[in-house]
Each structure stands twice: as structure tokens, then as C-alpha cells.
Amino acid sequence: MNTRRNQSPEDSLEPRGDFATTLRDFRSAVHHVAERETSKPAPSGWLISARHRQRIAQRRLVLAWTCAALLCVSLLPILHHAKLVTSQPVAVVQNVANDAEDTALLEQVDNAVSESVPSSLAPLATLDSWSSTTSTNESVTESSLNKPEKKNVAR
């Protein structure tokens, strides 16, 4: 335990003992497999297949972006329509609310109108007759006023 505590961080990065041997074996094994796989020299057209693959990948990328763009464009009207559909019920609800308010107001007006005319408003009828009498009186006074003028004219 003490030796582990006294180990510096640099030391802990360098494995020792059996673990170091196992790591060495692991390295040897990986090197061996890699050498076996790459022992044959690369053929002359070795990079052509990579270039072909790269082109295909580029085309796929372009195709994917084009599809995504087309999808977005085609979704726009649908989304717009969906937005309209969702906004319509609100308008309907608002209209219903307005109609209710209007009905209530109309009822209130009807009630007010259909109330019996109070007696204090009765002079309205006499006022009409008064206005008609005043108009006749006015015509009378006018005729009486015109009379002297006529007289003067005759003179």
C-alpha cells in the first residue's frame, strides 16, 4: 500500500510486472494481425475504390439534403393549413361569445323598449297637440301681422 502511495503519477502511467508483460503481448498480437492483413502490397487502383465510395457518400449527402429540403417545402402548406384549422375554433368560440353578448344586449334593449310609458311622459301627447296649436297660432299671428302691411300697401 505504501509503495502505491509513494508512486508518482508518471510511474503509474508505466505499467510494471505481469501487467506490463501482458500489454507487450497484446501489442505484439495486434502488430502481428495488422502485418498479416497488410502484407500484400497495395494494388495499383487501391485508392480508386475509396474515391468511388467518397463520391457515393457525397451524392447520398446531397440527396439527403435535397429530400430534407423538399420535405420541408411540402410540409409548409400542411403546417399552414393545420395552423388555420387550430385557429378557427378560437374564432368560432369568440363568435359564440359575441353572439351571446349581443343577444343579452338585445334582450336588455327589448325590455327597456317594451316597458310601459310612465305617466310623467304623458305630456308628450299634449306637447304634440301644443306644437300643432302653436303652429296654427303662429299662422294666425302671421296673418294678423300681415294685415296692416296689406293695409299699408293698399294705402
Binding site: S12, D18, F19, D25, H32, V33, E35
Partner: protein, 193 residues
């Protein structure tokens, strides 16, 4: 064993070296393939990505300024390819079957001579298998640092240059990776000897 290490090259020499691309492929192909195979544990994918790596290097050969060694530059390209491949594999989660996945037995089958008895050879193979399984379970960064250190035998500064991390981050990843691998390896075999 074909040496993939070139003697230290001056900047101009390194750029000139890239001009003879067939020679570059001949020298560095085993190293890049080995790194990719150890990282992905898939022979065919490693081969495809090795091709992609050299194709990218060929296309970008004019951008290579010789600031790092050619091996570091190629390993960095391979590292990016591994990252992209793992990302796309995660996206294609329904394609989990790996027909070309490297058989661990294949790896651990071959061991350097020196074991005295069949029991010792068997034990050695078992330990290598456990190391391989533990490496596969490391996180991407831990695995990369581990492979670059213990398979490619790069110095910490070289690993930092290749991965773009600073040295202390490399140390921290390596420390964690080693701890995990040691724990798993010794835990399965009944304790470190």
C-alpha cells in the same frame, strides 16, 4: 517486420516525401491500418478507413506544411475518420451486426514465442483476450490514448500533438484507461500477480 518509422525529416524533406505518394502508402499503410483496426476492432472497416485516410491525405497534400511529422499528420486524419465513423455508427444504431468484426481469438491466437508450457501459453492468450475486451469498452478518447501509447508506442508529447489535447489531459486519459484495463484484466483473472 516492415518499419513504418521514417528518420526525422526536415520540413522541406517531409513535403518532398509526400510527393512520392506510393512510397508514403507503402511505408505508412501498416501503421494506419493497425491503429484503425485496434480502434474499431473491425478488419473491413479498418481497411476502408485506411483507404479513405490516404485519399484524404492525397487530396490535402498541398495543405501539409511539414509542421508535424507525416506519421502524426496521417494518424490525425485517421483519428478524425474514426470519430466520424463512430458517430455515424451511433446514428445507424439498427445496424449493430458486425460480420467483419475482428475475432478476439484471432488476435490472442498469435503470441510471441517464449512461453514454456501449453498452460502458460493458454494463460497468456487469456490475458491478451481480456486486455482486448477491456480496450473495446474504454471511451473513445481513452482508447485512442491507450492505443497510441501501448500499441503505437508514442511518447506523451506525440500523443498530445496527434490528438490535439494538452499533455496533462493525455496523462489523465491514460491514467484512467490504464486503471480500467488493469482492474478488468486482473479482476477477471483473479487478481494481479
Amino acid at each position: 517486420m516492415v518499419s513504418t518509422e521514417l528518420p526525422p525529416l526536415a520540413r522541406a524533406e517531409s513535403v518532398l516525401e509526400l510527393a512520392d505518394f506510393d512510397e508514403v502508402v507503402r511505408l505508412y499503410r501498416p501503421r494506419i491500418f493497425r491503429f484503425l483496426m485496434a480502434s474499431l476492432a473491425d478488419r473491413d472497416v479498418a481497411e476502408s478507413l485506411t483507404q479513405d485516410c490516404f485519399l484524404k491525405a492525397y487530396n490535402a497534400r498541398h495543405q501539409f506544411r511539414g509542421e508535424s511529422s507525416l506519421g502524426t499528420w496521417l494518424t490525425r486524419i485517421a483519428l478524425n475518420l474514426v470519430r466520424d465513423h463512430l458517430r455515424s455508427r451511433r446514428m445507424r444504431f439498427w445496424q449493430r451486426t458486425r460480420d467483419t468484426a475482428l475475432d478476439i481469438v484471432d488476435i490472442s491466437d498469435w503470441l510471441p514465442d517464449g512461453a514454456s508450457s501449453p498452460e502458460a501459453i493458454c494463460l497468456q492468450q487469456e490475458r491478451v483476450k481480456e486486455i482486448w475486451q477491456s480496450v473495446e469498452k474504454l471511451s473513445r478518447q481513452q482508447r485512442t490514448v491507450f492505443i497510441l501509447r501501448f500499441v503505437e508506442e508514442l511518447e506523451l508529447s506525440e500523443i498530445a500533438e496527434t490528438t490535439g489535447m494538452n499533455t496533462s489531459t493525455v496523462k489523465s486519459h491514460l491514467y484512467r484507461a490504464l486503471r480500467i484495463v488493469r482492474e478488468r484484466a486482473t479482476g477477471n483473472s483473479g487478481g494481479e500477480k
